[in-house]
């Protein structure tokens, strides 16, 4: 009789099944729908349609604009906060950090509804400033995701490197520009990845702020609610490609820096 022998590789089976069911299969379905028409025939029309329609191209451009602006604003706000928190010697550092990060723990719907009420109070009618409201909503939502990775990187920064810079003649400004900033790039990259990608697709923020503008996410949502799986899938696929390219690009930097900071830890 063949005795059952347990092997470590068998532990992978559940994960493998999960991947097949929830990653691979949906992907195949999306690809299938993206390249077929209503009769199930292969077609490139969905692809052509996306790039020939000023509506979709405009939405793509607008989404990119929103994402870039949101990421930029988040970075501008988050870096000083993270820097002050990480480098200062205030006593209850973790408490202060918690205050900044706490919105993450509050229900998303509740947060945005509260924001909507406040903005309505200030602006009267939210429809007048759609782009501004989008930015405010996105920034409010994603700021903690930018603060945390930068804070963590700065916290790990070896204080003796800053002393070494001062020792070699650098003043505070040069020390920041030549040592602190370059060494916090991995944190900045993770922050950008965490903010840029969701802010291209998270149309719920827009919806809840009674926004009439469209980002990529809203486009997919619109097609799907009209039961147009084919065009919706094609947009999803295109978005996936954009994200893939973006991730590969940022990974190159993140990898390099991760490598060098590892060297720093050893050294």
């Amino acid at each position: 009789m063949n005795k059952f022998r347990f092997q470590r590789s068998q532990l992978c089976i559940p994960y493998g099944m999960f991947l097949v069911c929830f990653v691979l299969a949906p992907l195949i379905v999306i690809i299938y729908y993206a390249f077929t028409d209503g009769e199930g025939q292969f077609t490139l029309e969905n692809l052509m349609g996306f790039f020939s329609s000023p509506n979709t191209i405009g939405t793509l451009a607008y989404s990119l604009g929103v994402a870039v602006a949101t990421t930029g604003i988040c970075l501008m706000l988050a870096y000083p906060i993270a820097y002050i928190l990480a480098r200062s010697s205030i006593r209850h550092r973790s408490v202060v950090l918690m205050i900044f990060v706490m919105p993450m723990w509050i229900n998303f719907t509740l947060r945005i509804t509260a924001l909507k009420e406040i903005l309505t109070m200030i602006e009267g009618n939210l429809a007048y400033h759609p782009f501004l409201n989008t930015l405010i909503g996105m920034t409010y939502d994603f700021l903690p995701f930018m603060i945390l990775p930068i804070y963590t990187t700065l916290l790990k920064l070896d204080g003796s490197l800053l002393e070494a810079a001062a020792d070699l003649g650098a003043d505070a400004v040069h020390t920041f520009l030549k040592v602190t900033l370059p060494l916090s790039v991995p944190g900045i990259i993770s922050g950008i990845v965490m903010v840029f990608l969701p802010s291209m697709t998270n149309y719920v923020v827009l919806d809840m702020l009674y926004n009439s503008t469209y980002i990529m996410g809203s486009l997919i949502g619109a097609y799907f609610s009209a039961y147009d799986w084919h065009n919706g899938s094609m947009i999803a696929l295109i978005l996936l490609m954009i994200i893939l390219v973006f991730t590969l690009f940022t990974n190159r930097y993140a990898d390099e820096d991760a490598g060098s900071s590892r060297g720093g830890v050893l050294g």
Partner: protein
């Protein structure tokens, strides 16, 4: 390269003290003058304040009191980037995002030197540390020893007036460390700049320095050349820290005569008759002879082969004497020991208070030479109290184990009186030494427990008198040993 031989003071530390925010005095009244071109080493155990002192010279830390003069000018308030001083950090602190060239050129670029000059100087500095052609390498691809060399190159390329080195060889293995010691020494001679070096390794300090500053608990214990420090240690701490040594407490019994270990020796230090002293004897200065020819006699308790020599421990009475000898001795044999007068270094005893280290029994009663001293343990250990089950707890409520408590019991010589009534006192012993001190006699009484007590008394007793010692309970002082 020429060496600047002019005896010019480059840096002076005058009454420098540094107190941390919590009130801990990490450096206490530090006074030192360093001459241009000297190789000075701060030597001491960890936590002795040597690194803090170095950081104050570098400018990373500010003295709470005192003056810090560089070539006669006060630099107390000068930030580190304005000081002509560079540091080789303990763990190198090389910039991981820059390559070797960029690391070494960091200081030069900030000085806005022409590019061609920078390239030339970096090349020269890398040659100095034997790492030519490493310019384009990333820091993380270098070994520990190579990183060490780059850190040195990065500092010396700026041609500082003083180079500070904070335990730079601590992370290297033994063989590499020995190599780097010699290289650093050579580099110092070649460059002619002042080196201030921090280490806890006494051998490293002895090998490299012109001048050693021995530190302990924030205070300078001794400043001197390596030979001075080794041969003429000023106190028991220095003797103990530098090299191996036997330290015995003893007393001067005449001109260049000293008594310790139950025998009288000739010595070369002329200290006043009757002074309490500590005698330092290096293990290599003790010779083993036959029992009848030795000044003291003892039993060999252990013999360890150490390569060049044997390390032999000899028990004589209550004293253990460590001997280094190229000749082997057999354990459990009785041997005689001789010490030449030159091998005995006399240090004045730190104070003449009787101190006895002791512990407590299971009921937290203080043991004292076979008896019990009735005292309140909660008064000795601050913040402690007795819990309901009778165990002692500290301020946080944690139980203090009885065997962890070590108490120093001290009593002043003038608080002890002697009596010939054997039952009157709490201790009994023979007078083994007496000196007339002008208005009183100072006696040394060796008790039955082999403990020496110094007693001041205005009446004359005789040598070898058997006496009992009376000590009033309120004259005992207690201190907890950390």
């Amino acid at each position: 390269m020429e060496r600047n031989t002019a005896k010019e003071n480059i840096i002076e530390l005058k009454h420098i003290s540094r107190t941390f925010d919590d009130g801990f005095r990490v450096v206490d009244d530090f006074n030192l003058t360093v001459q241009r071109g000297e190789f000075v080493t701060f030597l001491g155990p960890s936590g002795c304040g040597k690194t803090t002192t170095l950081r104050m010279i570098a400018g990373f830390d500010k003295p709470t009191e005192g003056e810090l003069l560089l070539s006669g000018e006060d630099i107390r308030d000068l930030p580190p980037n304005k000081r002509p001083i560079n540091t080789v950090f303990q763990r190198y602190a090389l910039f991981p995002h820059l390559n070797v060239f960029e690391n070494v050129a960091f200081g030069l670029k900030l000085k806005k030197l022409p590019k061609a000059d920078i390239v030339k100087k970096v090349k020269k500095a890398l040659e100095m540390v034997d790492l030519e052609d490493f310019e384009d390498r990333g820091i993380q691809t270098l070994s520990g020893g190579q990183q060490q060399r780059i850190a040195i190159a990065r500092a010396i390329v700026n041609e500082p007036e003083i180079l500070l080195l904070d335990e730079p060889l601590g992370a290297l293995d033994l063989k590499m460390r020995k190599e780097m010691q010699l290289e650093l020494k050579g580099m110092h001679e070649k460059l002619g700049i002042t080196f201030i070096y921090v280490t806890h390794d006494q051998e490293e300090a002895l090998t490299m320095s012109d001048k050693i500053v021995v530190m302990s608990e924030g205070k300078i214990q001794q400043i001197g050349t390596p030979e001075d420090i080794y041969n003429e240690p000023k106190n028991a701490f220095v003797a103990d820290f530098i090299g191996e040594s036997n330290i015995f407490s003893g007393i001067m019994t005449g001109k260049c005569r000293v008594r310790f270990c139950g025998a009288e020796f000739e010595c070369v230090d002329d200290v006043e008759h009757g002074t309490m002293i500590d005698a330092v004897v290096r293990p290599e200065d003790v010779t083993i002879t036959s029992p009848d020819r030795g000044i003291i006699r003892g039993t060999v308790t252990s013999v360890i082969f150490k390569g060049v020599h044997y390390e032999i421990a000899v028990q004589s009475g209550k004293n253990e004497i460590v001997v280094q000898s190229t000749r082997k001795a057999e354990p459990n044999t009785v041997v005689g020991l001789c010490i030449e007068p030159e091998g005995i270094h006399i240090m004045l005893a730190e104070n003449t208070i009787n101190r006895i280290e002791t512990g407590v029994d299971k009921e937290y009663r203080l043991q004292f030479l076979g008896g019990i001293l009735n005292c309140d343990m909660t008064a000795i250990i601050p913040g402690s109290s007795y819990s309901t089950d009778g165990s002692l707890v500290d301020a946080h409520g944690d139980v203090i184990e009885p065997d962890r408590i070590r108490v120093i019991v001290s009593v002043k010589p003038e608080d002890i009186t002697m009596s010939d009534d054997k039952e009157a006192g709490i201790l009994r012993g023979h007078i083994i030494n007496l000196i007339y001190k002008g208005d009183h006699y100072s006696y040394v009484v060796r008790t039955e427990e082999d403990e020496d007590f110094i007693v001041s008394d205005e009446y004359l007793w005789n040598m070898d008198d058997y006496v009992s010692l009376l000590i009033p309970m309120d004259k005992f002082h207690y201190a907890i040993k950390k």
